[in-house]
């Protein structure tokens, strides 16, 4: 290996780092420019979506285990921190951590049996687990069942993570997103990331190289669950009311996956881009057309989704990659085709 190639291999990383830095700086000052609360709220929704998508991507993208039941972790996060707050008066700083840990434990327990399943069977099993959980919570008196839980409105400030202004929420979720991206980035760069991709591509071959499928899939799922649950706790803090239908719902699971797929699965920034696009479509189609009551917003939203799936099956990042490859002067050596996942 010559020095030249080593350099060229490193160059894009530092360029990427610079890009990321610039993006982060932009994200940090954005709410100073966009001051209207509902616009800030819109940004927060994007960041929430991105955070969930990046977290999902760890198990669904890198490790290729398509979970369509991530709402279960989201819900566990939301309920744990809220219950700790309302019953024990514990601050959500601790509550969110506890929720994350509980979700990770739950992931271990659920992954153990579910990871025996492959492809669509695994996906269906995750849906089943999430639905069962929703039903159990709905019928649990301890968790107030379908009635849901209110967060106390008489508290506020950084100790309780409850604010009147949107700004603190913005920076908290931005921080959480950065944390989530950093975790995924660290995984991607370490042997774990390589193992995840190996498991996704050829599980049997990975085993022959000493990779324990169960162990690494469990790592993927529990890390992803931990981060997803933190997102759930954030939801509870932001909306100050949770019920099973809003945090354990199947539609949340689907949305989490959609965000990652839309941007480009198995890539660090894919879900962030996915969130920007999906949440924008979702919010604007609703605000522009939702009030008619004729279903127009759904039609537009759905049409956009289908168009993306048809014209850019490997996500928008994939599409951008394709475009770049078509540009004159692109070096074929720089082209790296990434398959999103293996069909079972």
């Amino acid at each position: 290996m010559t020095t030249g190639t080593t350099l060229s291999r490193k160059a894009p990383i530092s360029r990427k780092a610079m890009g990321t830095g610039a993006l982060l700086a932009l994200a940090a000052v954005l709410p100073l420019a966009i001051t209207e609360p509902s616009q800030q709220n819109f940004l927060i929704l994007i960041l929430m979506g991105a955070q969930m998508g990046v977290a999902w991507n760890i198990v669904g993208g890198y490790a290729g285990q398509v979970s369509l039941g991530h709402a279960v972790f989201y819900g566990i996060g939301a309920y744990t921190s809220t219950m700790l707050l309302t019953t024990l008066g514990l601050t959500p700083w601790i509550g969110a951590l506890a929720g994350g840990l509980l979700a990770a434990l739950f992931a271990l327990a659920m992954g153990w049996p579910c990871f025996r399943l492959k492809g669509h069977y695994f996906a269906m099993a995750t849906i089943a687990v999430a639905e069962i959980m929703q039903i159990l919570v709905t019928n649990s008196d301890f968790l107030e069942g379908a009635v849901g839980l209110y967060l106390p409105m008489d508290r506020g400030g950084w100790g309780w993570l409850i604010f009147l202004s949107k700004l603190p929420y913005y920076y908290i979720i931005l921080g959480l997103l950065v944390l989530t991206v950093l975790v995924s980035w660290a995984i991607e760069r370490s042997h774990i990331g390589y193992y995840f991709r190996a498991i996704k591509d050829e599980p049997e071959a990975a085993r022959a190289l000493g990779v324990s499928l169960t162990r690494y899939k469990l790592i993927a799922l529990s890390v992803s669950a931990f981060l997803t649950a933190m997102g759930g706790s954030f939801y509870a803090q932001k909306e100050m009311f949770i019920d099973p239908g809003s945090v354990f719902a199947g539609t949340i699971s689907i949305k989490i996956a959609l965000i990652a797929i839309l941007g480009g699965v198995g890539r660090l920034t894919g879900p962030v881009l996915g969130a920007v696009i999906l949440i924008t479509i979702e919010e604007y189609s609703r605000t522009l057309f939702g009030s008619t009551g004729s279903g127009t917003d759904m039609i537009i939203y759905a049409a956009m989704i289908i168009l993306v799936a048809v014209f850019s099956p490997s996500g928008v990042l994939g599409l951008l990659g394709d475009l770049r490859r078509h540009l004159p002067g692109a070096k074929p050596a720089a082209v790296k085709t990434e398959k999103m996942e293996v069909r079972p």
């Binding site: 390589y194 991709r197 591509d201 050829e202 049997e204 071959a205 190289l209 000493g210 790296k336």
Partner: protein, 239 residues
């Protein structure tokens, strides 16, 4: 030094609901030995590999590796002990480059990415694929992919490597290169068991040959002995 044989297989049998793929197979492999494993299609060669590498749990019999009973261990445990394998139908990691494929193998012994990369570069050079290091594995030819699998297996620092039809589809010149590669593996002190239908590839280098037919071992001897063995001629070699 170490008196136990590298691998001792005793009375191994494997059945898939009703269909017996391996029956009562016993043999030993010594350190650094090159052993050919031949037999008609469906004789149970791949199944035997799967049992040795922990992919199948044998129905009967014992497998001992360096004197330790490893019957029914998992593939990852077998790999950790030092049994590496390639697949009859190639299974490279499609989304990774050739180098990254080998790095995954190297990570078994050293989880540090940079060091795994160095190790992988060595192994790629060893099988003659250095020029393809940054090529996506899916873009390699099938024979290159087979060699890549060999490099990947070697990167796990095995004591025994199981090669399943790495010469299939090669022309005679390429077969000779493959034979030379096997020989170099031998020189590194690694024992190998090679499943092959290409006699020209295996006969010249194998120290010993095992022959399977209908799941049972029908011969075990030097290539010269095997070539003369009437049972082997009748079952497999023909003419």
């Amino acid at each position: 030094m170490n008196t136990a044989p590298l691998l001792a297989v005793d009375g191994l049998g494997k059945a898939f609901d009703g269909l017996v793929a391996n029956r009562d197979i016993s043999f030993v492999i010594h350190h650094g030995e090159i052993v050919g494993l031949i037999g008609p299609n469906g004789a149970g060669k791949t199944t035997l590999f799967n049992c040795l590498a922990g992919f199948h749990t044998p129905t009967t019999g014992r497998i001992a590796f360096e004197g330790r009973d490893v019957t029914g261990s998992t593939p990852e445990a077998a790999a950790a002990l030092g049994i590496a394998r390639t697949f009859q139908i190639v299974r490279v990691f499609q989304s990774m480059t050739a180098l990254e494929n080998v790095m995954v193998g190297a990570m078994l012994r050293n989880k540090r990415v940079a060091e795994a990369r160095d190790r992988a570069e060595e192994e790629l050079a060893f099988v003659g694929l250095s020029h393809r290091a940054d090529t996506p594995a899916s873009d390699l030819t099938v024979s290159e992919q087979k060699r890549l699998e060999v490099a990947r297996a070697l990167a796990t620092e095995p004591k025994l490597i199981l090669l399943d039809e790495v010469m299939a589809g090669l022309n005679p010149t390429e077969v000779r290169e493959a034979s030379a590669l096997v020989h170099r593996i031998h020189q590194r002190g690694i024992a190998s068991i090679i499943v092959e239908h290409v006699m020209e590839g295996i006969m010249p280098i194998a120290h010993r040959m095992l022959v399977l037919d209908y799941g049972a071992k029908i011969a075990d001897g030097t290539p010269a002995e095997i070539a003369e063995n009437p049972a082997v001629i009748a079952a497999y070699l023909g003419e």
